[in-house]
């Protein structure tokens, strides 16, 4: 990929004084497929297959795409919760330290990074240890890092619980005594314990009911303001993403296919896959009749993706070069990146 096509360069050129919080270049994560008792590698699942992006300080970047397209894996690579196969992930952690390549970190520095970036999980039921009290769950990051113990720990945990709207008196209870929405708050309190700057929220409201979902979204926004947090917000509900994200990235089979400011993306998408996604949005209003654009076939297999543009077997605009050449991510409107050969010729429908 030529450097002028790289969204990270283009963004940093325009606002040189405003350094992004994080920059990702050429990120790849391949999982080996092993079969048989000799465990020979039979190929690779290309979970993330060449992702470039930047995240600005204080913004919420939404990440959308079909199940299995690599959203969670991307999030995990950004936190070094799994090791990337290839590519660079660097953070501007402070003006003193400048750029930090997280894959080069070890020991003390890696521990420092682990406090800087955290994760909130989708499933509030399985992500909490049932045998630990709230005090232990929320306080664990503090005890593990030897930052607090005894009374000081209880103090800090009480404060965290209050921040997320839970009563400090609950501290001695176990997770089973709480509802889904409350468990999600426990998870959020825990991820805030180390005062992170960056949080990957992996489908944080997908398992929640409408009324609890709204409370949780409000809470995440309040915390973002209070602590100047930056979010990568993975979700599949586009109504939620449109509400919370400043910019949105669309993934398809391990690749970033579109990246733009939220309003721009929803009003005038440039990638045919994004257009299909938009047509699937169901407005909560029976007077608005929607019809999903028909898409043939199933999502491509990340272990054996199609040639050229991975979307071509399902794309209604596909032409010959689409299965011959791989499109690159290009900035074809200011701050609007898309990877489609035909982006300039076709006019697509948004939802706004």
């Amino acid at each position: 990929m030529s450097s002028t096509n790289n969204p990270s360069d283009a963004v940093s050129d325009r606002s040189a004084q405003e350094t992004p919080l994080l920059e990702v270049k050429g990120l790849r994560k391949y999982y080996p497929i092993r079969r048989g008792f000799l465990s020979r590698t039979k190929g690779f699942v290309k979970a993330v297959d060449g992702v470039d992006l930047t995240i600005q300080r204080g913004e919420t970047l939404g990440l959308v795409g079909e199940s299995g397209c690599g959203k969670s894996t991307t999030g995990r690579c950004l936190l070094r919760a799994v090791d990337a196969t290839e590519g660079q992930v660097r953070y501007w952690m402070s003006d003193e330290s400048g750029w930090t390549d997280i894959y080069a970190l070890e020991g003390q520095d890696l521990r420092r990074f682990r406090r800087f970036a955290q994760m909130i999980f989708q499933d509030p039921f399985s992500s909490l240890n049932p045998r630990m009290t709230l005090l232990q769950i929320v306080g664990e990051p503090l005890t593990v890092n030897r930052l607090a113990s005894g009374e000081e720990l209880e103090h800090r945990v009480a404060d965290l619980l209050r921040r997320v709207g839970l009563r400090p008196e609950y501290m001695k209870r176990y997770p089973h005594a709480f509802s889904g929405g409350q468990r999600q708050r426990i998870g959020i309190a825990r991820s805030l314990a180390l005062e992170p700057n960056f949080i990957v929220c992996d489908e944080p409201v997908s398992a929640l009911d409408v009324s609890i979902q709204a409370q949780t979204l409000n809470l995440l926004q309040d915390l973002q303001e209070e602590f100047h947090l930056t979010y990568l917000f993975v979700a599949h509900d586009l109504n939620v993403v449109a509400h919370i994200a400043d910019r949105v990235a669309v993934m398809y089979v391990g690749k970033m296919v579109e990246l733009a400011e939220s309003d721009d993306l929803f009003a005038s998408p440039l990638h045919p896959y994004t257009e299909v996604l938009m047509s699937s949005v169901l407005p909560p209003d029976p007077r608005i009749k929607t019809r999903q654009i028909e898409m043939t076939g199933e999502v491509a297999n990340p272990a054996d993706p199609p040639s050229g543009c991975y979307f071509h077997p399902r794309c209604r605009y596909a032409e010959e070069r689409c299965w011959q050449e791989t499109p690159e991510l290009r900035e074809i409107r200011p701050n609007h990146f898309v990877s489609c050969h035909r982006a300039e010729e076709i006019t697509l429908e948004g939802v706004l």
């Binding site: 586009l238 109504n239 299909v276 407005p283 909560p284 007077r287």
Partner: protein
Amino acid sequence: MTPPDDQRLLEIRNLKVQFALEEGTVRAVDGMSLVVNRGQTVGVVGESGCGKSVTAQALLRIVPKPGEIVDGELLYYRPTGSDGENLHVTDLVGLPANGDEMRDIRGNEIVMVFQEPMSSLAPVYTIGHQIMEAIELHQQVDRKEARERTLEILQRVGMPQPTQTIDSFPHQMSGGMRQRGMIAIALSCNPTLLIADEPTTALDVTTQGQILELMQKLQNDFGMAIMFITHDLGVVAKMTEYVTVMYLGKVVESADVDTIFHNPKHPYTKALLRSMPRMGVKSRRLEAVTGMVPDPFHVPPGCPFHPRCEDYIAGRCDAEEPPWIETEPGHGVRCVLYE
């Protein structure tokens, strides 16, 4: 008693289902009433735990122990005769849950599609085998004919490559394909009522859209009624004609879909609609309903919604159970504000 309206297919009257547990009694469904007409799509909405699935289980008479139907009627206007011309009213509550008649109704006339197709398909049999089994159980056909019908039905539910997929196991199929398989099993007989319990919640948005459109098309072709259970108001708006909103085992509001969305009366319905994020409406904060759904052992007295209600009248809402009030024909609400 007034003679039944001949459009009527099912009438749930004051259904109560309870689970006697060690910690106390869960009133999972606590006086549910609902009418489903022939060929109609009725939505049942509400938050987790409000009794939607248990209502469906009661209809099929598959409420798990220690759950029990303790009150109410489930009147099924069953078509009889060779061409289904005559109606025979059967109270499903009065039938033995595992007797011949109930089994016949369950597999053949009232059928269900679940949220998680993986857990409701048998993992060790191919999808084709499972559909053929359903066909052979209810129709007098031989193996060869059953396989032909299976292929035909797989085609109708839009299964990709039906001639190959017929011999696939559930784990070899995607979520969308499994859900199509479930629908194929449900439609292998000619149901009068399809109960769809969150059939698309576990699916991707694009797959969800495909399944919803498939269900609309099949309803057109087969003419069955659908009871659509969901907590997704977008799905309700797209799919249903008539909507029932539940809260803690009770119906709090029922009306046609346009009225529910554009002229809701119950404070809970209004609050739910306001809390939805909407495309194009840029506001920093959502108007969330305050508080949580109380746990089933501590249902508040009076109106169960009162601790979260903005219009709550002290001394009244927490003391007396609000009555069911018809504000207009076909629009009912359970709230003291409309007395």
